[in-house]
């Protein structure tokens, strides 16, 4: 009954597009398994967060206006990132507070937008996934997903259904990894110290794999782990849930 399937637009996010396209394909697979009809609107680039958090409200607004057009008419918009999801749900509508013509559309889009994993559990009622991963993983709660969208239990619930996977909790899992968007290159000394605290906690878990739901944090943590020569593998949680880790090297690791 294809007509009853919710029409879901995937917002790929700029980092997944550029850096880790497999996460986008993992998202499509998970959404389709959950019974969604998935489309990828072409006229999307970025949620505008780099401009928004740099104080350039005008550019942020312009980019978000583009998203209102690109993502109008779908039942849901799903994002494999708590940070971009938080931008669209919590921040984007306020960019149009003084524009009553657009404000209602912005509110409507915000209300239909979900982060991937919480969408699967909270909206589609997914309780388990069909995937296997042999290893001990630990999970970092990315800040925006955790504090803006309340994502904490959802990834753990789905990870518990992955065959062979053992989850060991990370001390200070809710403490920021130091990425912070442009913060990580504007204040690299602080950022590197923060991510070094994080890699210490990761090492202390004894896990062989680190998971999280945001590419920014993942690139930061993977980058530091590799610089330290750590054997810990880093992956987006969607890769594990979709069971596509077999021929996809972990973040920051090569094919040769």
């Amino acid at each position: 009954m294809p007509n009853t399937k919710p029409r879901v637009a995937l917002f790929v996010t700029c980092l997944v597009d550029l850096h880790r396209p497999s996460v986008g394909f993992a998202a499509i697979k998970l959404l389709e398994q959950a019974g969604c009809h998935v489309e990828v609107p072409r006229a999307q680039t970025c949620c505008g967060q780099p401009a928004y958090n740099s104080g350039d409200r005008a550019t942020a607004r312009e980019l978000c206006r583009g998203l209102l057009d690109a993502f109008g008419g779908y039942d849901y918009v799903v994002v494999p990132s708590g940070s971009c999801g938080g931008m669209l749900r919590e921040h984007m509508p306020h960019l149009f507070d003084d524009d009553p013509n657009t404000s209602a559309r912005a509110d409507a889009l915000a209300a239909r937008t979900y982060e991937l994993v919480s969408f699967l559990t909270d909206v589609m009622g997914v309780k388990s996934v069909d995937a296997a991963y042999a290893g001990t993983v630990t999970y970092h709660d990315s800040c925006a997903g955790l504090r803006e969208l309340g994502i904490k239990a959802q990834p753990r619930a789905l990870l518990a259904s992955v065959d062979g996977l053992k989850l060991t909790e990370l001390a200070d899992a809710e403490v920021c990894c130091g990425f912070g968007g442009t913060f990580c290159v504007k204040y690299p000394e602080i950022s590197v110290r923060m991510v070094s605290d994080k890699t210490k906690s990761i090492a202390a878990t004894g896990a062989d794999t680190l998971l999280a739901g945001d590419m920014g944090c993942l690139l930061n943590m993977a980058g530091r782990l590799k610089r330290e020569g750590s054997p810990v593998k880093t992956r987006h949680v969607a890769e594990v849930l979709a069971g596509i880790t077999g021929d996809l090297p972990p973040i920051g690791e090569g094919r040769g």
Binding site: R20, V40, S54, G55, C143, R147, V175, G178
Partner: protein, 475 residues
């Protein structure tokens, strides 16, 4: 207080290399957050209290003129004096005049951040009056000629060795075999020295946690009892208070007190909570002969009616800095002025100018932890973002980042060009990094690669691969 905020980056480099400071930060970090967490867990209505606290403050700020006038009338009625001061200069002059009128030579002081903001100590010293800090932390900082690094634990950046070293420098009569192994040893030494000062002081200066409009009272909370000795023993008590300290009623003050100690130190209540109303009356057993409140604006009224008004809700509990990963990486002195951490990153630009304090609202990852623990729900990341907007409008942000942002925005607004550019970029980086999967160095990326590897992209962008797979499916 001297402004070091423009040198934030240099301050950070210094702080990261300071092994003693880093030791103190690592030592304290877990206990601050842990204690608040335990206290909050024990009070089921804590979340509702936060709403109540926010509402009390919002209501008061919306009617600030009314409550300040009511409060001042009640202070006068109780025999006290109110000195309305718009600027730091006026406040310093008012304090000096009261001290001089009292013929003061020694002034004891309770811990007060607004005193640091105004530079009261330097001003009194310049005029031949000796201020003595009586809060344990402030006492050692005065000896060391340092500013506070935290708004409620001003000297927590010091280790035990630092305390002994400083005591020995000024208490030259200390026997060489005197031990300073325990906290108690430090406390005993300070207490003995301070006891004489309390008795000798002519004027006592404290801050105020709250001013209560309906009674004309000022309230201070301390854990050492030094504030009470400061305000009751000398002939004259001066309370320094900024305009946003006023609350309408005693009940409002007690609601906020329930939030304050839990948020600050994880105590249900501070050890001493003292209400001062007017001067000593005829039949009172003790108390000062004169009670003055120096009421200070110093830039705060400029925040009213702006997007920064919410910052005036702050009750100075320090929960934001106690939970801030940036604060615990760089320490309080890096922020370069009186108020560090997230609350300082919003307040400091308001008080000294964003041209001087521009780094502070930028040096945040917007992790949101500060807002989640704020007892009066100040949206600190949002307010920091507003400062970034002001900086962007005034072209105060660095030219290089503005250029990068403009270039990125040009592409991001044009999906077609953006696709092309990302496709080329990802292909090149993907090819170069295919074997190792990461880069240890890349041109123009030292901000990233100095301390981290840069993971290489997979090589084909999502949109390129998606288009290819769709074509393959359809053919």
């Amino acid at each position: 207080m001297h402004i070091n905020s423009p040198k934030f980056k240099a301050n950070v480099t210094h702080a990261l290399a300071d092994t003693r400071l880093q030791k103190a930060l690592d030592f304290t970090r877990p206990s601050f957050a842990g204690r608040r967490g335990a206290a909050v867990a024990n009070l089921p209505e804590f979340e509702q209290l936060r709403d109540i606290g926010r509402d009390i403050k919002n209501h008061t700020l919306a009617h600030l003129d009314f409550y300040l006038e009511t409060w001042a009338a009640n202070v006068e009625k109780a025999g006290g004096h109110v000195h309305w001061c718009s600027t730091a200069d006026e406040a310093r002059a008012a304090v000096l005049k009261i001290c001089q009128d009292a013929g003061a030579r020694t002034v004891t002081k309770g811990k007060s951040m607004i005193s640091e903001e105004l530079g009261i100590n330097e001003h009194l010293e310049k005029h031949g009056i000796a201020p003595v800090e009586t809060d344990l932390g402030e006492y050692i900082l005065q000896i060391r000629d340092e500013g506070p690094s935290h708004i409620i634990a001003p000297a927590f950046h010091l280790n035990r060795e630092d305390w002994e070293e400083s005591f020995r420098k000024v208490h030259t009569d200390l026997p060489a075999d005197r031990v300073f192994n325990e906290r108690r040893d430090i406390l005993t030494e300070a207490r003995t020295r301070l006891r004489e000062k309390f008795l000798a002081a002519d004027v006592g200066i404290t801050g105020a946690n709250f001013l209560i409009a309906e009674t004309g009272s000022s309230v201070i909370v301390t854990n050492e009892g030094n504030g009470d000795l400061t305000q009751t023993l000398p002939k004259v008590h001066i309370a320094l208070a900024s305009i946003e300290k006023v609350v309408p009623t005693l009940e409002d003050a007690t609601s906020l007190l329930r939030l304050l100690a839990r948020s600050a130190t994880g105590q249900d209540f501070s050890v001493y909570t003292t209400f001062s109303t007017g001067a000593r009356r005829q039949h009172d057993l003790d108390g000062p002969g004169e009670y003055h409140v120096v009421l200070i604006d110093n830039g705060r009224s400029n925040m009213l009616g702006t997007e920064f008004q919410e910052m005036l809700r702050c009750i100075r509990c320090a929960a934001c800095m106690n939970h801030c990963p940036v604060y615990f990486t760089v320490g309080g002195h890096s922020y370069g002025w009186v108020y560090p951490g997230p609350m300082g990153s919003v307040l400091t630009p308001s008080l000294i100018g964003v041209d001087k304090a521009g780094h502070l609202p930028n040096a945040s990852t917007f992790c949101g932890k500060c807002e989640s623990v704020c007892p009066v729900k100040i949206p600190l990341p949002k307010l920091m973002r507003h400062w970034r907007e002001r900086e962007f409008e005034r072209h105060l942000s660095p030219q290089s980042s503005r250029t990068n942002l403009a270039l990125w925005a040009w592409f991001a607004r044009r999906p077609g060009f953006y696709r092309l550019a990302t496709r080329i970029g990802a292909a090149i980086l993907g090819r170069l990094g295919r074997r190792k999967g990461r880069f240890q160095w890349l041109p123009f990326a030292s901000g990233w690669t100095d301390g981290r590897d840069l993971p290489a992209p997979e090589g084909e962008t999502f949109f390129a691969r998606y288009a290819r797979e769709q074509r393959e499916k359809n053919s």
